[in-house]
Amino acid sequence: MTTKTSIVRSRRLTSREARQLFDREARRHLKMSGTEFLRRWEAGKFDGQADTSAVRRVAMLLPFGR
């Protein structure tokens, strides 16, 4: 669904598009797939890195990846 005003256009992603966006962001910031990020995140394997800018940026998008 796309909603447009004179300045802003918003788009609701399908589940597949949301997962693809999550995957792209994980690859862009951390050079790993979204699936790998999710696996490591849920296993608590970002110890010591969880507070880096790159991990935080991807973690904010977890609702897209799950």
Partner: protein
């Protein structure tokens, strides 16, 4: 009741801001849908986590406001300043609205607004945030 979430919202990946040299604003939010009464009911969106990141023209982070109460470490709202000496510091803040970040960028960083009545628009939506 619709599916309450959480949902994620990304604004533009990175929004390029009109300024020389340019800055980019990366907005990431999580929100839920909750029941509400009065004019804003029967449902409204409530922000449950945010990240407002300002990058310079080379893509390097300058500063960022974070609030991730479900995150692994720091639960309170805070500010990061990308200075080598303070990179790991979490400067405590109260909850910061997107309107406050946009006002800061226009008023103190020289970002050119698209609308001449930006102050009225941001003040109006800020008041809704505060209620």
């Amino acid at each position: 009741m619709p599916n309450a979430g959480p949902y994620a919202l990304v604004v533009g990946g990175k929004c390029s801001l009109m300024r020389d040299p340019s800055l980019a604003l990366d907005i990431r939010m999580q929100y839920r849908i909750v029941e509400a009464s009065g004019d804003r009911g029967p449902y409204k969106v409530t922000i449950t986590a945010y990240m407002y990141i300002v990058d310079d023209h080379r893509g390097r982070e300058v500063f960022s406001y974070h609030w991730q109460p479900d995150g692994p470490k720091v639960k309170f709202p805070h500010l990061h300043v990308e200075h080598p000496a303070f990179k790991k510091a979490h400067f405590p803040t109260r909850r910061i609205s997107l309107e406050e970040v946009l006002t800061l960028l226009i008023a103190d960083f020289g970002v050119q607004p698209l609308k001449s009545d930006w102050e009225r628009v941001l003040t109006g939506t800020q008041q809704k945030f505060a209620t």
